[in-house]
């Protein structure tokens, strides 16, 4: 790991100023950033640890939505009574990330900013039509993930929270890589006032919506409605864990399981 300057600002305004510096990056749980720095995949002049910013923490209800601070850990989301009652699919998703020690450190903001193709949270952000709130603006979940490890965030921009609209029903199912627990394929299904949304992570370079499943589930929100549905493997990921054909099959199967989980 190349050396860098380390800062841990106590106030949002100081964090904003530091992040305005050239090649300075936010540090959240460090569970993706530090391993990448160790491999010298990245090199930064400074890291701005967001760990002391208390207004980036916590889970609250705001009308018909749940607002979760960017620095809220996976463990906190998994164990939240408030979410358990209002949006339990998110607890299931968070509890399935990595292992307990990763969940104790890793955060919502870090996960979506990183936009790993196998990460779980992107499926919930897209599947619920969430809004990503930053220090500068609000970004629709539909426009946030732009490619492999790519997001709509500008340099110096910091996620402060994510607003998840409450669905009528939601479920998440993933087929996990057994060693890392990342999603070989994960599917988040939600029945919302704006219609049915099905978001797929792990299968493609970036999270995407599965339009044919949305159409089928709009007609009838039932696993049986997916009978005979397929997804073309073109453009899906292929690696030592699973080929594109296999992932295409997994997408349909995980969609079915997510609908069953949604109840």
């Amino acid at each position: 790991m190349y050396d860098f300057d380390y800062h841990k600002p106590a106030h949002r305004a100081d964090a904003d100023t530091l992040l305005g510096r050239d090649n300075y990056k936010p540090l959240a749980g460090g569970m993706s950033l530090l391993p990448a720095l160790k491999l010298r995949l990245n090199r930064h002049d400074g890291l701005v640890d967001l760990g002391a910013l208390s207004d980036l923490q916590g889970i609250r209800r705001d009308g018909d939505a749940m607002v979760i601070g960017a620095m809220t850990t996976h463990a906190t989301v998994a164990a939240s009574d408030l979410l358990q009652q209002a949006l339990s699919a998110l607890c299931v998703l968070a509890e399935g990330i990595g292992d307990p020690l990763v969940r104790n450190r890793g955060t919502l903001g870090g996960s979506i900013a990183n936009a790993d193709p196998g990460a779980d949270y992107p499926a919930a952000v897209l599947g619920l039509g969430a809004t990503v709130i930053t220090n500068r603006r609000e970004i629709a979940g539909d426009a946030f993930f732009t490619g492999l490890f790519e997001t709509a965030l500008h340099s110096g921009e910091m996620i402060t929270a994510v607003r998840f609209p409450l669905p009528q029903k939601a479920g998440y199912a993933k087929y996990r890589q057994p060693a890392s627990r990342f999603a070989i394929t994960g599917v988040f299904v939600a029945q919302t006032v704006a219609g049915v949304r099905v978001a797929v992570t792990g299968a493609g370079p970036s999270v995407f919506r599965f339009a044919a499943a949305e159409a089928a589930l709009t007609r009838r929100f039932d696993a049986a409605a997916l009978e005979g549905l397929t997804l073309a493997p073109e453009g899906l990921n292929s690696d030592i864990h699973a080929g594109a054909d296999y992932r295409a099959h997994c997408v349909v199967e995980m969609t079915r399981r997510a609908v069953i989980a949604a109840g």
Binding site: M1, Y2, D3, F4, D5, Y6, K8, L27, G30, M31, L34, P35, L37, K38, L47, D49, G51, A75, A79, G98, D99, P100, L101, V102, N104, R105, A179, S180, R181
Partner: protein
């Protein structure tokens, strides 16, 4: 170079580190607390698990500077003088180790598991909750027995 001060196993400590210095390096190389092991250095194996403000973390994936002012407990800080912590005693009693390399991390992780999941743990819960800790020797069978017994013993020890 920046300095960092924290509490480790109840003692105030300080040292000069780099931005990139990991908590595990600070513990092992600066404080010579070599009970915390580095198995992979890629955040996978859990051999480096310590408690940071009461929560289990992989110390190979935490910066030392991020722990300024924090309280850290390592495997060296668990025993009470010559009396082993109930979880350590359970690993001894149930032969929950062979080479012992993963053991400090297993024990620190097991104590964190009790904090999160309570004292009555079934084998399935223990196996699931130990996913962040890898053992190359034992096949986990006796580790699971040890964690189960250690968790139960921690309840009596507290009472």
């Amino acid at each position: 170079m920046p300095t960092v001060a924290m509490t480790v196993n109840g003692k105030a400590v300080a040292g000069t580190v780099e931005g990139r210095t990991l908590l595990v390096q600070f513990l092992r190389e600066h404080l010579k607390l070599t009970g915390t092991h580095v198995g992979c250095d890629t955040s996978q194996c859990g051999c480096c698990t310590v408690h940071l403000n009461g929560t289990g973390v992989k110390s190979c994936t935490v910066l030392a500077l991020a722990c300024a002012g924090a309280s850290v407990v390592t495997i060296e800080g668990l025993a009470d003088g010559d009396t082993l912590h109930p979880m350590q005693e359970a690993f001894r009693e149930h032969h929950g180790l062979q080479c012992g390399f993963c053991t400090p991390g297993m024990i620190m992780s097991a104590v964190d598991m009790v904090r999160r999941k309570g004292n009555d743990l079934d084998a399935q819960t223990i196996r699931k909750q130990l996913e962040g800790n890898i053992c190359r020797c034992t096949g986990y069978h006796n580790i699971v027995l040890a964690v189960q017994a250690g968790a139960a013993a921690m309840k009596t020890a507290k009472a």
